[in-house]
Symmetry: C2
Subunit: 200 residues, 2 copies
DNA sequence: CTTGTCTATGCAACGAGTTGCATAGAAAGC
DNA sequence: GCTTTCTATGCAACTCGTTGCATAGACAAG
């Protein structure tokens, strides 16, 4: 279970409540993992039961009390053990790629809007990552010599930036392909079923 | 549920049994999705019950009989409906990125082997994709004018190629970072717990 | 003064995905 | 003769992940 390890890393970087973790996972520049607050609360409870985490009730005023979690020694040991285990290179699950191949059996032009939406979302993320990089690592307000943790966060962020740039370029390629197919529209695989293609 | 849609696309491209689907999902050059045979059999059964697929028992000699699935009209319609729905841009879940950030609380040098292993795996995949591209799309044995389905498969494959190239370059960046941190080893975040760092 | 948003936590139910095991005939290698 | 590998399907049990709902006080906008 990698969520467990992601939580350990995040809590080592900075202790916090389930709510705060959920927001970090949502909005963190390093955005290397996603999880809903439900999942996080459930895993936090389990990890606390197993002694991996320590909890501290923090009373607050003007807002509900919170439970601040931090990593206990067994949690640190568990993380260390995981770091020394080999893991499998991840396998992609890319919905949009499924849609692109699926559009061979539908109207290619109909996918253009969707691809453009995705492209815009990836441009947003890229801008967000670049702003974060400037703020935390390469700008004038960044700490002068970065420590090891910051260097590692930076290299992960560079990965995110490279990913977004690559994806945007690929989506441009996809759009060009869809436009080309749109012009010579009629060589779409003939639908055998309920949705006959209007022959322009 | 995107597995359902991936199965529809794959069966439209070519009908086949659960076993064959599992192998396609495993080894397909387009490798856009992963699933175990268990999951595939279960979903195939459900989709058949729902009338999305048609089955044909195919007796074979020298090997067990198989059930060849193909897409029925309602399945085609379901795919078409899904293609016209917007989907969210996928969110990454990158174990290795978690490990990289986690190594701030451990020995950075210990991760080098792991990262090299991943790099090698991505190089293999890239070689595999490039071979497939040459065979199916750009080489002398490829069909001369590609039809729409092939163009779309090609652009998805180009995405896979771009992803692997980007990843390999990023892993080189990661390795360089880890080596740099290895030389100035002692500014690792001081462990507070059970694993004291050996000061080189 | 009502609606909506933000902080903060959680239950219940469901769906997605994994792991281990079982069956069973054919072929290939040791 | 034995083990392993390949084809082919499936059950059972489990964990992981999502969705909908509930609570509850504080604050801001209309």
């Amino acid at each position: 279970m990698a969520l467990e390890h992601a939580i350990l890393v995040s809590l080592l970087e900075k202790p916090g409540s389930g709510y705060e973790l959920a927001r970090r996972f949502d909005r963190s520049i390093g955005r290397f993992w996603t999880a809903t607050h439900q999942q996080i609360y459930r895993v936090l409870n389990r990890m606390e039961r197993e002694g991996l985490l320590a909890v501290r009730e923090v009373p607050q005023q003007g807002r509900p009390d919170k439970k601040e979690y931090s990593v206990a020694d067994p949690g640190r040991a568990a993380l260390s053990r995981w770091l020394h285990e080999p893991i499998e290179p991840e396998s992609l699950r890319h919905d949009l790629a499924v849609k692109i191949r699926g559009t061979a059996f539908d109207d290619p032009a109909a996918l253009i809007g969707e691809v453009e939406r995705h492209r815009a979302a990836h441009c947003d993320r890229l801008a967000h990552y670049l702003a974060g990089e400037l703020r935390d690592f390469t700008g004038p307000d960044a700490p002068a010599p970065l420590d090891a943790g910051q260097e590692l966060q930076h290299v992960v962020l560079r990965g995110g930036i490279a990913y977004e740039r690559m994806t945007i370029a690929w989506l441009d390629d996809v759009l060009a392909t869809l436009h080309t197919l749109g012009t010579k529209a009629s060589d779409v695989a003939a639908p055998q079923g309920s949705t006959p293609a209007p022959s322009a």
